[in-house]
Symmetry: C2
Subunit: 225 residues, 2 copies
């Protein structure tokens, strides 16, 4: 896949050795994250709001109520920033100074467009459900025309973005390696517990395999052997 | 603890039944989150960057390199938004439309100040390490004057903020409860794996209890019986 051009706005200035501009890396991070944080400004005040997203090809979709301030702002022609962050571990160095996190983050900048075609809205709805729970779309009651009408979908073309990745062991000052202090990484993962059936279930239905066998996106997209 | 005044900027408009303005709830969310996302604007373009934070009383601290664009922007007198989000589960409804997430999020708005006193910087450094790994501060090599000098600390007074919480079972349309479709919640948790010692450890040191017995903040701050 192609690389992104590093623009003055997306060039990673701090710890540039952690910067990644390959589309494949960026997309892997966007796909693995269950939520994103969207930044937009109103009257000079920035706001950061979490929401569910999905990537389809080179487009990032989010959805919500037409009454949402965030969605209205996203449809206004103003620039936004969509950021996702995956926390992979605590980096426990010998010195306080070199304590850090292992993480992968992706930032996409741009001006979203409001999706008006019902067909494209349908693509986004399905992709969002499938992103959270692969296989579930075919098991549930799909959106009716009224629901489609009263849900706004915003699309952000992924043209300007960058990723930042920190992985591996702590890096301490040379002299500190002599200290008798333990250092290392504590890996962190998102793990699903046992499914909790809706108390209002009127039928004695078993938990479907799409839920009981839910694979967290980290393992779903893990390409390591 | 006192409530926040709901300002026009922090009043939760979408799903207002999910809004919480109690300081205690907001602080619990800030304390449980290992990272925050900071929103700031440069030339009309919003940016959202993840970073480590900590709350000490009514102040939120973040730190980093003086060369960081985010920290420079935070010290410039411009307003920022700090958001943390805890993902508690996938809400799997009968209808695609009512699929959702259980989450707790907190938003704090304000204009940060740069911390100049060495003593307050020290408070922030210790709190950040202890937030990630309680008990570790006393086990590691603490910051020397040069490290303190070359780390910027920004403080945001927690005066204007709100929290949003969604918990519990899916809520479907009345007619959909008749459908023979499973619905419920799939809980999600952050879990630590086995500690990975730094390959450069020169001494045969055991993993300290502060790391091997690491309790994720969700359980650390869980006040339920």
């Amino acid at each position: 896949m192609a690389e992104f051009e590093s623009t003055p706005r997306t060039k990673v200035k701090r710890a540039p050795q952690r910067a990644v501009y390959e589309r494949e890396t960026l997309y892997g991070i966007l796909d693995e994250a269950l939520i994103c944080h969207i930044g937009f400004s109103v009257d000079e005040q920035p706001y950061v709001i979490p929401t569910i997203h999905v990537r389809v090809d080179d487009v990032l979709y989010v959805h919500g109520s037409p009454a949402s301030r965030m969605l209205r702002r996203m449809a206004s022609g103003a620039p936004v920033c969509v950021t996702v962050t995956l926390l992979d571990g605590l980096v426990l160095a010998r010195s306080a100074f070199h304590h850090s996190m292992n993480y992968r983050s992706a930032v996409v900048l741009g001006v979203p467009r409001k999706v008006t075609e019902v067909k494209e809205k349908g693509v986004a709805f399905k992709a969002i459900v499938e992103h959270l729970t692969p296989g579930r779309w075919d098991e549930i009651r799909q959106p009716n025309p009224e629901e489609i009408r009263k849900t706004d979908v915003l699309a952000l073309q992924i043209e300007e973005g960058s990723a930042k990745v920190r992985a591996g062991a702590p890096v301490d000052d040379d002299v500190d390696y002599e200290l008798e202090l333990w250092a290392g990484v504590l890996p962190l993962n998102v793990v699903a517990g046992a499914a909790v059936p809706d108390p209002a279930l009127r039928h004695n239905l078993p938990v479907p395999e799409t839920v009981s066998g839910w694979i967290d996106p980290q393992r779903r997209f893990d390409l390591s052997p």
